[in-house]
Structure formats: C-alpha cells, structure tokens
C-alpha cells in the first residue's frame, strides 16, 4: 500500500511511514488481526503440546505393543516353519558340497551299502529331484524302498532271548508289506530302471533284497516264486509260520 501523505510504499503492518513520518491509521485493522492470530497460534501450540504430553505414555505403549506383536508373529512364523528353513539350508549345503558328497555316495554304492546310502541321502537333505542330484532320483526312490524292506525284516527277525513281543502280527504285516512294496516298485519301474545310469546298483539292490528273503525268511529262488504267486493272506500266513511259530 502507499502512504496517503507522501505516496511512498509502506508495509501492511507499519505503524509510521518511513519516508514522511506520518502515523498510519489505514492499516490498524490488519495489525489488530495479526496480533489476534499470533496470540491464537501461541495458544494452539500450547494446547497441542499439552495434549501431546498427556498422551506420550499412550503413544509409547502403542508403539511397544506394535513391536511386541510383530515379534510374537515373527517367533510363531519361525517356529512353524523351522523344519523347512532348516531343510532349505541343508539342501543349499548339499548343493554346495556336491563334489564331496558325490564321492561319499559312490563309496556307499560301490560297497553295496544301500541302507547307508539312503540314510546319508536323508541326513544330508539331498534333493534328488533337482540339479545337481537329479540323476539320482530313481536310485534314491528304490533305496528308500530297500531300506524300508531291510528295517521291516530286521524288526521281524532280530530278538534277544528275553524279548517282549507286544504285537508280533504287526511285525509280520509290515514285513509282508515292505517286501511287496519293494518288489512291486522294482517290477513297475523296470523300463525306467533299464534306462537309468545307476541301473547296475538298482539290480544289485534287488539281488540283495532276494538274499535277505533267502537268508532271513528261508525263501530261496523257488520259494520266492511260490511266495509271490500266492495271495496276500497266504504270504502273511507263511511269514507268521516262519517268524512267530518257528
């Protein structure tokens, strides 16, 4: 705005003109408004500070609650997924140690120790369904069936003189089932086995399964033929006769 006396430029809140010294009355309304708003702003700031100070404990408590809630959810998530976390870590390790593990695996296989191989594969979380172990998948599958057969025959045959049999029929059932599973899988996958790079080991596994049946169940080649030609009930009856009644 301009001074009505000298025409010089003056500010909205100036009380006197800096050029002619005249007391300015035209902007008195602006100055009064400014004072009001300054006081109002100070009052509002004070009020806000007061409200904030009253609510600081509540704000801190809410913050702590959010942090604790996140922590509890994280712990629950870790607990629920610990097995897969550990399995994933072990799988990564197995890939990292591929060269070392390959040598160990070959030692197990060359020794014909397929239960040891199955245990090694399981203990070291070797993922036979993906690279670099993908070529082992059929061998691993058959080794698991073989290990199941060995476990079942061991369980059904090895007892001390004072052993307590709680449920001998279940041993016999498991034994029959494990023998059937291994031989069924072998026959079912025969064309895959013939095309597999580890077929010699799988055939050796089958030969050892036959030997186990011969040595521990009294089934020579002819006996095995008769055994597999018989029904489930007859197979179970044979095993009961050999394992329980003898």
């Amino acid at each position: 705005m301009k001074c009505s006396s000298c025409g010089a430029e003056i500010g909205l809140t100036d009380k006197v003109c800096a050029h002619c010294g005249r007391v300015i009355t035209e902007n008195a309304g602006y100055r009064a408004d400014l004072n009001f708003y300054k006081k109002d702003s100070a009052r509002t700031k004070k009020k806000v500070r007061q409200i904030l100070s009253e609510n600081i404990p509540m704000v801190i408590s809410s913050f702590v609650m959010i942090v604790l809630l996140i922590a509890v959810i994280a712990v629950l998530y870790v607990k629920g997924n610990a097995y897969s976390f550990r399995e994933d870590a072990a799988r990564r390790d197995s890939v990292k140690n591929y060269e070392t593990y390959s040598v160990i695996i070959k030692d197990y296989l060359d020794a014909g120790d397929y239960t040891g191989f199955a245990a090694f594969e399981e203990n070291h979380s070797i993922a036979e369904w993906e690279e670099p172990y993908a070529d082992l998948w059929l061998l691993c599958d058959m080794a698991k069936e073989y290990a199941y057969l060995v476990s079942a025959v061991e369980s059904a045959t090895m007892f001390g003189p004072d052993a307590r049999w709680y449920n001998p029929e279940s041993y016999v059932r498991d034994c029959r089932s494990a023998i059937w599973d291994f031989n069924f899988e072998f026959e079912r996958r025969l064309s895959d086995i013939d095309a597999d790079p580890y077929r010699d080991y799988i055939y050796d596994m089958k030969a050892k399964a036959d030997i186990i049946m011969e040595v521990y169940l009294g089934l020579d080649e002819q006996g095995r033929e008769q055994y597999f030609a018989s029904s489930d009930i007859q197979q179970e009856a044979y095993l009961e006769e050999v394992l329980i009644h003898e």
């Binding site: 408590s61 702590v64 239960t115």
Partner: protein
C-alpha cells in the same frame, strides 16, 4: 472408557505379549537348530527302550542315521552305536552271501572296533550276535 483405563489395558496387553515372546523365543531358536536324530521318531530314548526290550531289529533300523553320517550327541552315542552294531551284524550275512568281500571286511572291522570300544555292553552285544544267528533261516 476413559484414557487411563485404555492405558492400563494397553500395558496389560504389552506385558502379556512380552511374556508370550519370552516364552516362545527359546523354543523357536532350538527348533531352528534341531538335529535330524532329535526328531520325534528317532529319539534316543526310543532306541534305548527297544534295546532294553531286546528288540534289536528296531533298534538297528532306528540307529541308521549314524551310518548316514548324522551328528549324534555324545550322551546318546552309545545307543546309536549298539544299533549300528546290530545292523552291521544283520547286513554282514547279506554282503557275505552277495560276495561283497571288501564290504564284509569293513563290516567286520567296524564290528570288532565297536566290540573293543563298548566292552561294558558285552552282554548286549552277545545277545545281538545270538539274535542274528537265530534269525538266519537259510539252513533251517
């Protein structure tokens, strides 16, 4: 509900959450570190039970992780080694019949090493030997 009541409730909830966190944290950490052999199905006390029941075949199959190179806690190693002995005794007959001479030899080496290491379990080892002898039906 006034502000004070809400504040008191939030403190109570925080205490509860804090207790939950402190209680669950050790479990979560230990579940991240568990060993394969510590899983429910292969607990060392199961192997001990089966050995005590003279059920050597199950002890042998449960101990198999030791043959796969699993880390076994020192305090449980004896049970696993007894199971390993039982399995080697069982498999030795199979390897012998299959003509795996080298494997039979390494089985025998390990069997005699276990015999020497575990002399205090001589009675159990003798019973395991006998159980395998009785289990062989080939000549019956």
């Amino acid at each position: 509900m006034n502000k004070k009541a809400i504040f008191i409730i939030s403190i109570a909830v925080n205490i509860l959450l804090g207790l939950m966190f402190i209680t669950m944290l050790p479990g979560a950490l230990s579940s991240l570190q568990f060993e394969y052999v510590e899983q429910e199905t292969i607990r060392p006390d199961s192997i001990r039970d089966y050995l005590e029941r003279e059920d050597y075949g199950i002890a042998a199959s449960l101990s198999r992780p030791i043959r796969g190179g699993a880390d076994i806690a020192k305090e449980n190693a004896d049970y696993f080694i007894l199971g390993e002995y039982a399995e080697l005794m069982f498999l030795k007959e199979v390897f012998a019949k299959a003509g795996n001479a080298d494997t039979v030899r390494s089985c025998e080496d390990r069997i005699s090493a276990i015999r020497n290491e575990m002399s205090e379990y001589g009675v159990i080892l003798d019973k395991i030997d006998q159980s395998v002898t009785n289990a062989v039906r080939e000549s019956k």
